[in-house]
Amino acid sequence: MSKDIRIKKGLDIKLIGAAEKTTSQSNLSSVYGIMPEDFHGIIPKLIAREGVSVKAGEAIFLSKDDERILFPSPVSGKLIEVIRGARRKILAVKIAADGKQEYQDFGKKDASKMSAEEVKNHLFTSGCWPFIKQRPFDVVANPNQTPKAIFISAYASAPLAADLDYTLAGKEFELQTAITAISKLTSGKVHVSVSANSSSPLAKLSGIELHKVSGPHPSGNVGTQIAKINPINKGEVVWVVTPQDLVIIGELLLTGNFNATRIIALTGSRFSKPHYVSAIIGASIADITKNNLVNDNTRIISGNVLSGTQVKEDNFIGYYDNQITAIPEGDDYEFFGWNKPVFDKISTSRAFTFSWLNPNKKYDLTTNTNGEHRAFVVTGSYEQVFPLDIYPMQLLKAFMYKDLDEMEALGGYEVAPEDFALTEFICVSKQPHQKIIREGLDLMRQELG
């Protein structure tokens, strides 16, 4: 049975620089990097030392809390450097690729004949477990729990997001294999959501419950879909996997190799030719964006403009990201910017802001905050872009004053930082919503989790 999801509250942020549907092959980078910070809440423990040679798929660190969870090297080569920050926190592990890409062999598996325990162990040893994330708390899944359902969003509605129908085309076999395997990990269903008017390669898979999603962003956010399909109650857990990661899991089962190659969208007005490139997880930004990026006062983002991470050219693409966005920095003053009519920026109000006149116009937004940080003043605006059955401002305030009872009662288990990206975008008081949510979730996880 297919249950359709229609979202009315939300906002599509239309920007210049959507990726053209051509894919170029990026050369194998010389250096790859894995950043433990991509795996929020994981305390890494290195198992490979500097100077050691690793194969693609061979673990380089593990989680201190659960040593079964391994984090693999995406390429074969030599571990050349561990970059540490304050209190010796590991910021990045750099691996110099040897150019041959030798895979560690995990053995071919027949997904349909594996038991739940075998699937779990196979994902542990092959380093694919981190692809499975959980709600509540939006962290790498705790393997000791059994999720009530698994959710996969095959519809990306974020600004300039990679078109998953395009990037996943032809991967039906891998996707099916992966879904057959992971569906054994849940007592419930595997929910897959696709865009209402698309030909997603995930639409025809078996063993899933298909949902057609329509409406503005955040309709593609898996958090929105969970809330509409099967909201999380206290004590329940759902797991979430992205379809691009399913492909990697599927290929692992089919070939025995951990092939972390994915198609990445280069988007934003600062790319001279926004399009797709095929690259391996952890590739350096400079290599992926070579001869394309206009790097003059440019903000480079691994991910989308709402929830992505700011990176520099010598950094690496985030472990879960399939998009790099480049937009102009906005570090300039604007004369009487607070009261003159605005035509070149997006707004949900009509306070001499005229984006409502032309809803299909594409904008070239900068990183300017368009005003200073203030206390919460305006009410009722977040609700217009927030489709969950939660009072967003009340929840944010509860997260700020850290009242655990209220955080729980108001729906703290149901949210992830990315669900508050749009409210943060339109916030008149320029409050850091996603940061507030992230810190609140960490506290909840520590105290209640």
């Binding site: 700011q310 570090d331 009487f336 009722g380």
Partner: protein, 405 residues
Amino acid sequence: MSLKQNLHNLKEKYKGTKMAPAFNAIHTFLYMPNDVTRGGTHIKAADDLKRTMNIVIMAMVPCLLFGMFNAGYQHYAAIDASLRDNVLVNFFTFDNFWIGIIKVLPLVIVSYGVGLGVEFIFAIIKRHEVEEGYLVTGMLVPLIVPIDTPLWMLAVAVVFGVVIGKEVFGGTGMNILNPALTIRAFLFFAYPTWMSGDKVWVYGAAERANEIAAGSNADAISGETILGSYAQNLTTDYSIFDKFFGFIPGSVGETSTFLILLGAAFLIFTKIGSWRIIVSTFLGAAAMGMIFNQVVAADIITSSSKFYGLMSTAWWEHLMIGGLAFGAVYMATDPVTASQTNKGKWIYGFLIGFISIMIRVFNPAYPEGVFLAILLMNVFAPTIDHYVVQGNVKRRLNRAKLKTV
């Protein structure tokens, strides 16, 4: 070097010093800052608090200008009633406007000067940026006081209102009571003889009364508002036209229902003002007015009662006279002190309208109940929100219960 560059250098120089907030307040008034996003969303929508507040101020400018003309018009018409025969000719004259300039403009200047002064001092002491909330409050205050309010009284009231009404709670966004209404309430309770009665609403009325008392034989200037007359079971000569367009005595900016409705349309169109609160306040006032009309129609209250005058006033007339429309559009909608949930806004607005008319009818000593009603509901707004939010919490708990059954 350009102005932009000079100011930027000064900003860097003052950074971290005590004077930084004061400098930044002026700097950001001229130039939107060069801050870029750090963490979180990399882009932000165009609106900030300055823009939001600016829209509210612009919605009030027509009321202010009208109030300036009306100050003079009420003054001259009180001396020579024949001016009322042809309002449109005798209203928009320079003589009228001049009275506005010498009487209303000083109110605006004192309100902004004193209020912003207090804001700057607090910003410097508490090391936060100067917040925009007072831009609106400072504009509201001169519009809701009687024209003959002495400037020193206004200054004292503004200091009280900003410090006790807002800053002690932590500034804009944290206050419980609407600061402008706190100022108005302070004036009313601290100087009751000045703020009520029939002598403060028209420029010169009090002065002339003193002259007469001293033996002058000039005619007295009547400065009675319509509400005041009704409360004494008197009738007035003002036509519906006068009442709707505002050619009547009253606080500076509250008289023209027409311009207030235009302001409301502007606030609703720009999505700055909450239409829920505006509509429900009028609904609540109309409901209470109708109940009173029915009471009179059923002969429960007869013309011998002291409540008869205002109780028999048609419900739709209640919406036009006094400060109801102004309160509904500009004061009740203050997002910080109003209910913050959409459902709560309906309840909050309705009760403001309802209680306003109730106070108006049952409090003949001072028939203007709007500001008291809004202050009262300011206090109850968090309670309303609490119950609305509890509805959401209960739904969540029920969902979990159904699951386990």
